[in-house]
Amino acid sequence: MKEKAEVVIVGGGVTGCGIAYNLAKKGMTDVVVVEKEYLCYGASGRCGGGIRQQFTTEANIRLAMESVRLFEQLSEELDTDIEYDQGGYLIIAYQDEVEQFTKNVQLQNSQGLESKFISPEEAREIVPLLNIEPIAGATFCQTDGHANPFKVVHGYAKKAQEMGVRIHKFTEVTDIETDDGQIKGVKTTKGTIKTDTVVNAAGAYSRDIASMVGVELPNKPYRHEILVTEPLEHVLNPMIISFKTGIYFSQQKCGSIIGGIGDPEEPSSYNVSGSLRFLKRMAKTMIELVPAFGHLNVLRQWAGLYDVTPDAQPNLGWTEGVDRFCQANGYSGHGFMIAPKVAELIAELIADGKTSVPIDGLNVKRFEGEITGETYVVG
């Protein structure tokens, strides 16, 4: 193991590997990524791969739009086919959601995002198998889409390593040593790495990492379950989601349908086992929207952890009280989709001392005041 590094990144997911890649691209190659398990063990490797820009806070919309711009060129940049597909996001609107969704579209349009409110009939033109009986309309944005998270994470990791970044898998961070608010080193199960800069990109485990230096993050872990079906011929272009029911599903390049559904009764925990309750809720809600999918075989179900903050926006940037301790966590279920831009901005912060887009509003110190945030946190 390397005994000294300019930057130690905790977490081998899309955020950690993405930051490592962007630091190396800027010439900072003396970087170590430490991952407790293997690359994309956590939320990055368990998510649905959706890439959405239709958010309801300016910060989230901006980050997502900038990330889409980066996703569009990522296959080429990483020399890896990330299976990026801009089939759009179709967000189902039920009657009592129409007024709010109209406002959401206005805000998105004001930020330059070409989302629109469409009728049930127009939604059926986009998804011919859609049952439009229960719906009042939908919002649609063609440039939303999805990609394969495994490919993105491994692509970032491979390029970063080619430029000199070291990745230590199966290595757990056990402590972060500080002296008078300055970071001195990172203790791991395989030895200590001397450093003055640490990035906390440990997803749902970020609050444990932060507590090692006495910083309390307000993040809470929540299990979210998901399933994959057998592959079928291409029948579904967009990701279909509903905030009311919490469902989301899309068809992958390989033909499988991948989807999940949030559960309002899910308690905060680190549980990642699958439940029958999920299968029942998912089946019922999915069949109501696309009855034909009832015939599909479920191959596998699993779960991952959302790392949820009180305003459902990420924690980005330096931490008060501990010099050069950088947060990149709290994605609240939409980390993969904004990771490319976040990774670029965090690399700017570390390498240049400033970011090209202000991220002060996402500093963890915002929770000291009144909280206003993202209400729409599915897929």
């Binding site: 495994f150 191959l299 596998r300 179900q301």
Partner: protein, 87 residues
């Protein structure tokens, strides 16, 4: 001669050996890099074969090669089966 190890996802022995050489030395990682074991049979056929390849390559005994997580519903089940009854 091409030797198929994962029949569901069409993954060859050569691809698996190459990935092991690249440092992916657990069944879980090979799944995520190559998709072996992610098809309809859920790794029933290929997991023992991959375990043997890992054992031969890394010198670990097959018993020490960690097993991948087994995920429900174990064999393919139509989605409609789960929609039948109320919670």
């Amino acid at each position: 001669m091409i030797e198929i190890v994962c029949r569901c996802e069409d993954i060859t022995k050569e691809e698996i050996l190459e990935a092991i050489d690249q440092g992916y030395q657990t069944v879980e990682e090979l799944k995520r890099v190559l998709r072996c074991g992610m098809g309809p049979c859920q790794g029933r056929t290929c997991t023992p074969l991959i375990t043997r390849l890992l054992s031969e390559k890394t010198g670990k005994s097959p018993a020490d090669v960690s097993r991948p997580t087994t995920r429900p519903p174990l064999q393919p089940v139509p989605i409609s089966t789960f929609a039948g009854e109320e919670e």
